[in-house]
């Protein structure tokens, strides 16, 4: 039986910036969830979720052996840290933009991340 969960309940993430490019690495805790997340978290979906923010190409690099994926979002920082007027010009909080997205997975285990 599948259900919808927020990514934050099954994964952890970290945001980094270089110029006007943001990257958010997402790490899925349960191996059983990895394929489902990879299938549902696509560049197209991300551009649809945040059309005003993600103005450039989005790439996703998978690291299956670590259950990780790296979302690289070009032109996604409103000009970058030295140009943006956003309080968070680095986009440090972009990890929590991603973690609020919902995905459909098989019955999730509630795990604490360590």
């Amino acid at each position: 039986m599948s259900r919808r969960v927020r990514l934050r309940d099954i994964a952890h993430a970290r945001a980094g910036d270089k110029g006007n490019t943001s990257n958010v690495s997402v790490w899925i805790e349960d191996p059983a969830h990895y394929a489902a997340v990879l299938r549902q978290l696509t560049p197209d979906r991300l551009r649809r979720e945040f059309p005003r923010l993600l103005r450039g190409p989005v790439e996703i690099h998978a690291l299956p052996h670590l259950r990780g994926l790296n979302i690289v979002m070009r032109e996604a920082l409103e000009g970058g840290v030295n140009r943006s007027l956003n309080l968070d010009g680095h986009g440090k909080s972009w990890s929590y933009l991603i973690l609020r997205l919902e995905v459909e997975v098989d019955e999730p285990l509630k795990t604490r991340c360590r």
Partner: protein, 479 residues
């Protein structure tokens, strides 16, 4: 500016300076149990310009380190270093250099740990001279300080500023403050080879600060790309300080980190084959786990199979991360390809002035009152005063950081209206602050807590230069 966590210790043993541990460590070394003999122990005692000092003191006192690396340059701080040096030829190095050297140099001497840092920023020579003066004041005779110059390439660029990423409109031309090339181990190794106790640099690729001591120690060949990639992985994991030991990680109820207020800086135990264990002092707070290491593994990385540094193109895509004990994580599996022929250059431009101002509303109907204040300010700044510079309005607590992403709004009764602007004309920025302050008496009911500030703005862009064009020089000073 970061506050110090504890007063720097005096030159003699003071409380918390680790004197007793230092003796124990000396005994361990006499008995042949020195952990440094089988490999290389590197600590990171700063991951950005304003990072904490107290935990670096602890790391040096208790860590049994061969090298302590302080990584203190970002794109903004590099540019501000140049600006400071223009105003005062004796400035332009890291503003915390003095406090850090006073606290760390006596411990470096006591424990035989060498110090490597890019705290020279835009003025490595003056940073080295000041360090020697401080060492003299501390009574540290015979302390040697090497400094490396050559990263500043402003003159090499000539009158024609090259086209660069990050400046598509070319708006910044003419306001070039400085350009710095990212140096690598080929430039650092001659400085390390002087044997100096302290090595100070300007702009160096962050992982190279950690790779250079490993190459010097283990004699890795300049084309041993897999080992250079392994050392680059160590540097990449350590360069942001506590981001691998529990900082930038905690999420209460979900991701817990013990004693984060006393978080320790990281240590890497590296062996000649490039194998490495990431750990921290057992006495320090924080956490080293597969999760903290994995998050840092891809921090600011784009394609994990092509992490480009001046030293190697590192492939992290098959890196393994294994918890082998409490707060001990082994990493392996980095591979490397030949280094690039060009060095990255960051150009810093005068970006005019950045203004930020805010007023807060709380209680019943706070959101509507804050929204009214925003509408009034827009009307006055844009329509009445005709401001055309970039302006941004945020309702903090409602839709600020994620406002552009379309998230929110949320219900709240505690809202702060923030106004931000950027302009080359300081008077425009001053007007934004003035109008925002005036909203206290001329706007909605119950607005308070005005704060406003104007800061210099520096914009940056990237370019590159052929490796051969960059020439470096090393000099050694002594107390």
């Amino acid at each position: 500016m970061a506050a110090l966590d504890k007063p720097p210790p005096a030159a003699e043993d003071g409380p918390g300076s680790g004197g007793e541990r230092g003796i124990l460590e000396g005994l361990r070394r006499l008995e042949g149990n020195d952990p440094r003999e089988s490999g290389c122990r590197i600590g990171c005692g700063a991951g950005f310009s304003s990072d904490r000092l107290g935990p670096a003191v602890d790391l040096l006192a208790e860590g049994g380190l061969d090298w302590l690396v302080l990584e203190c340059i970002g794109e903004r701080t590099m540019a501000f270093g140049h600006r400071d040096r223009r105003r005062d030829p004796n400035a332009g190095y890291n503003p915390l250099l003095e406090a850090r050297m006073r606290a760390l140099l006596p411990l470096c001497r006591r424990h035989g740990t060498r110090l490597l840092s890019n705290m020279g920023v835009a003025n490595p020579r003056r940073a080295a001279e000041r360090t020697v003066e401080i060492a003299g004041e501390l009574g540290l005779r015979g302390l040697t300080v090497a400094w490396l110059e050559g990263d500043e390439v402003t003159d090499l660029l000539g009158p024609q500023v090259p086209s660069c990423e990050g400046d598509p409109a070319g708006e910044a031309r003419g306001g070039l403050i400085a350009a710095n090339a990212y140096l690598g181990i080929e430039h650092l190794l001659p400085a390390l080879a002087t044997g100096a106790d302290v090595v100070l640099t300007g702009r160096v690729a962050d992982p190279s600060l950690f790779l250079a001591p490993l190459v010097q120690r283990f004699g890795w060949a300049a084309d041993d790309w897999d080992r250079l990639a392994a050392g680059t992985l160590v540097g990449h994991l350590l360069e942001c300080g506590m981001q691998v030991t529990g900082g930038y990680f905690a999420d209460p109820g979900r991701k817990e980190v013990p004693d984060l207020a006393r978080c320790g800086y990281p240590i890497a135990e590296v062996t000649a084959d490039g194998g490495a264990v990431i750990t921290k002092l057992t006495s320090a707070g924080g956490l080293v786990s597969t999760a903290t290491v994995k998050e840092q593994l891809l921090y600011e990385v784009h394609d994990p199979s092509a992490y480009v540094t001046p030293d190697v193109i590192a492939d992290f895509s098959a890196v393994t991360v294994e918890e082998i004990g409490r707060d001990r994580v082994r990493v392996a599996g980095a591979r490397g390809r030949p280094r690039p022929g060009r060095l990255k250059v960051t150009l810093a431009f005068d970006g005019g002035w950045l203004g930020e101002a805010g007023v807060s509303y709380a209680g019943i109907n706070a959101l509507a009152r804050a929204e009214l204040a925003r509408e009034i300010l827009k009307e006055r700044l844009v329509r009445i005063h005709g401001l055309a510079c970039p302006l941004r309005f945020d309702l903090i607590g409602v839709d600020s950081l994620h406002g552009t992403a379309g998230v929110g709004p949320v219900r709240t009764e505690d809202v702060r209206l923030r106004v931000a602007c950027r302009s080359r004309d300081r008077r425009e920025v001053e007007l934004v602050l003035w109008e925002t302050e005036a909203i206290l008496t001329c706007g909605p009911a119950g607005g308070g807590g005005f704060r406003g500030r104007i800061t210099e703005s520096v914009t940056t862009a990237s370019s590159s230069l052929p490796r051969e064009a960059v020439r470096c020089r090393v000099e050694v000073l002594e107390t």
